[in-house]
C-alpha cells in the first residue's frame, strides 16, 4: 500500500480514502462492515452543542442517478457524543470529527469538547438542511468569524467544509485568510423534487442536498479551480466519488485526500476492494497517489 500513502497537515494517512461526514453515521453500524484499518480516515456525522432530532420525514428522495437528503443534522449533542461515542472511535484510522452549529460560540464549544478525541476537526459550514436563509458558508462574515475563532482556539488540524453552491474561490479565500490550511470541496448540492400528484415539494423544507455519481465532474472542476488559485491549500475532494478511477481523477485535479459519502454508505462491504483497486490502478500506471496530486496543473504526469 506504499503507493497510497500521503501526509496531510502532519498527519499520516495510509491511504487517501476518507469516509465523509453523515452517510456513515457515527461509525457504530458502519464499522460492523468495514475494518477501520482499511480506510484512510473516518469523518463522524456532524455534532452540534445541543441534541437535534433532525427534520421530520421524508428525509430522503430518490432522484435519477442520485439521492436528495434532508436529514437536518440529527445528533445526540456534544455532551452525549463525548461521553458515549467519541472515546470509541477507532484509532486505526484518522479520526475526523465534524462540528456544527449556528454561531461562533457553538463551534467553539463543540470544537473544544471534542478536540481530545479527534485527529482532525472538520468545520461544517455548508449543511443545506438546517438554517433558514442558506448555509453558513453563504454568509462571509459569519464564516470568517467561525473559522478565525476555531483557528485561534483549537490546536488540531482544521478542515473547512465548503459549499458547492456558493462561489468556491471566495469561500476558499475566506478559509485561507482565517488560518485554515485544509478545505473540503464540498458538500451535497442544493436540489428539490416535486410531487406531480399534488403539486407540493417532497421535502418539507423544499430543498435537500443532492449527492451521487453525477456530481463528480462538478467536484473535479471546483477542486481544480481551488488548487489553481490557492496551491498552498490542501484539498479534500468530495462529491460523487464512486469508482477507484474517480480517486485518481480527484488527485489529478488537485485533491490530497478523497472523500466518499453516499458510495461508502450504499456499499460498505465493497470498500476494501475499492481501496485495493485504487492501488492497482496506481501500480499499473507506475505512479503514486502523492505524485498525482495536482499534476494536471503541471502538465500531467506523463
Amino acid at each position: 500500500m506504499e503507493k497510497l500513502k500521503i501526509e496531510v497537515a502532519g498527519i499520516e494517512f495510509k491511504n487517501p480514502i476518507v469516509i465523509a461526514s453523515g452517510p456513515a453515521g457515527f461509525g457504530d453500524e458502519f464499522f460492523k462492515y468495514v475494518s477501520p484499518s482499511t480506510i484512510g480516515g473516518f469523518t463522524t456525522k456532524t455534532v452540534t452543542p445541543q441534541p437535534k432530532d433532525g427534520n421530520p420525514p421524508p428525509r430522503l428522495v430518490y432522484t435519477k442517478g442520485g439521492l436528495l437528503n434532508s436529514i437536518g443534522l440529527q445528533n445526540p449533542g456534544v455532551d452525549t457524543f463525548v461521553r458515549e461515542v467519541a472515546p470509541n472511535l477507532p484509532k486505526e484510522t484518522v479520526r475526523i470529527i465534524s462540528i456544527g452549529g449556528e454561531s461562533v460560540q457553538d463551534f467553539l464549544e463543540v470544537g473544544q469538547k471534542v478536540e481530545e478525541f479527534a485527529d482532525m476537526i472538520e468545520i461544517n459550514l455548508s449543511c443545506p438542511n438546517v438554517r433558514e436563509g442558506g448555509t453558513i458558508s453563504s454568509n462571509e462574515k459569519l464564516s470568517s468569524e467561525i473559522l478565525f475563532a476555531c483557528s485561534y482556539s483549537l490546536s488540531k488540524p482544521l478542515i473547512a467544509k465548503l459549499s458547492p453552491d456558493g462561489d468556491i474561490l471566495k469561500q476558499a479565500e475566506v478559509a485561507l485568510k482565517n488560518g485554515i490550511k485544509i478545505v473540503n470541496v464540498g458538500n451535497s448540492l442544493q436540489g428539490a423534487k416535486f410531487n406531480i400528484n399534488d403539486g407540493k415539494p417532497f421535502l418539507k423544507r423544499v430543498v435537500g442536498g443532492l449527492s451521487g455519481p453525477a456530481l463528480l465532474p462538478i467536484t473535479l472542476w471546483k477542486v481544480y479551480q481551488v488548487k489553481a488559485m490557492f496551491p498552498q491549500l490542501e484539498i479534500i475532494g468530495l462529491g460523487g466519488v464512486n469508482n477507484p478511477k474517480d480517486v485518481l481523477e480527484c488527485a489529478i485535479a488537485g485533491a490530497s485526500l478523497v472523500s466518499m459519502g453516499t458510495h461508502a454508505m450504499i456499499d460498505p462491504e465493497g470498500i476494501d476492494d475499492f481501496i485495493l483497486k485504487t492501488e492497482k490502478l496506481l501500480e499499473e500506471r507506475k505512479v503514486s497517489f502523492k505524485e498525482l496530486v495536482g499534476c494536471s496543473h503541471r502538465g500531467g504526469y506523463r
Binding site: G25, Y62, I71
Partner: protein, 226 residues
C-alpha cells in the same frame, strides 16, 4: 450479493409483479425482514422490499410497478441484493393481520409461518389474481377497506401493514388493542447509519430499518410526518 432473476411474474394489467431469485440462507430470513434490491445498472440507491415468501431457497417479493427499479428490471437479468435487514414481526398469539395493497407482502410470509387470520384490502382487484391468499382469509376491494372489515373482529393482537393513512386510521380505531404497525420510509443505507428512515417514538427518533420495520402502535407518533 448478486443473483440471477429466477422469475418475474406480472399481474394482468401489470400493476404488480412477483420477483424471485435464489438465496442461500446464510442468515435466517424471518417474516417482517426486508432486502435491499437493485440491478447492476441501477437504480443508484437500492430499494427495500419486504420478503413475501421464502421457500426451497427461493426468495419472492411482491412489488408495485411504476418506479425506477422496475425500469431496470425490464432489461436486467441480474439482481444485486443485501439482507435480510430489519427485525422480525413479533410472534403473537393468533393475531389478526390487516394488509393494504403491497403491504400484504410481509403478512403473507408471516401467515405462512404463524397461525393467524388475514384480511387483505386493495384498490386494485388484480392484486388478488397475482398473489396467493391462504384459505379462510378475507379480501376486499375499496370502498370497503380492510379496516372496515377488521372492525368487527374481536381479536386482541393485530398487525397492520399498508399505506400510512391506513396505519394512522388503524391506530385510531384500535387504541385499546395490542396493535403493531409495519412502517415504511424511504431508505438509503438500510442499516441505521444514514438517519434517513426516521420515525418519532415515545423514546425519541428511531429508524425503520434498524429498529423496525414493525413498531408497537403505542410507541410511534405518526403525526410527526405531517
Amino acid at each position: 450479493m448478486e443473483a440471477d432473476v429466477k422469475a418475474m411474474k406480472y399481474s394482468s394489467r401489470k400493476e404488480y409483479f412477483l420477483l424471485s431469485f435464489e438465496y442461500d440462507e446464510k442468515d435466517k430470513v424471518e417474516p417482517g425482514q426486508f432486502f435491499r434490491l437493485k440491478t447492476p445498472t441501477g437504480p443508484y440507491i437500492a430499494r427495500p422490499y419486504s420478503v413475501y415468501d421464502f421457500e426451497d431457497g427461493v426468495l419472492t417479493f411482491l412489488i408495485k410497478s411504476g418506479g425506477e427499479f422496475e425500469e431496470h428490471l425490464k432489461t436486467s437479468k441480474k439482481i444485486i441484493f443485501d439482507g435480510p435487514l430489519g427485525n422480525a414481526i413479533p410472534s403473537l398469539d393468533n393475531p389478526l393481520l390487516i394488509a393494504g395493497g403491497v403491504g400484504y407482502a410481509p403478512l403473507h410470509f408471516y401467515a405462512k409461518r404463524n397461525k393467524s387470520h388475514l384480511i387483505v384490502g386493495s384498490k386494485d382487484e388484480e392484486l388478488f389474481n397475482l398473489v396467493d391468499i391462504p384459505p379462510a382469509s378475507v379480501y376486499t376491494v375499496e370502498p370497503t377497506t380492510a379496516l372496515d372489515v377488521a372492525k368487527h373482529s374481536p381479536t386482541t393482537n393485530i398487525i397492520a401493514c399498508g399505506p400510512i393513512k391506513m396505519l394512522s386510521r388503524a391506530k385510531e380505531m384500535f387504541r385499546d388493542r395490542n396493535l403493531f404497525l409495519i412502517l415504511e420510509e424511504k431508505m438509503a443505507c438500510g442499516r441505521g447509519m444514514c438517519e434517513g428512515c426516521a420515525v418519532m417514538t415515545s423514546d425519541g427518533v428511531k429508524f425503520v430499518c434498524k429498529d423496525g420495520p414493525t413498531f408497537s402502535a403505542k410507541e410511534v407518533n405518526l403525526n410527526w410526518r405531517n
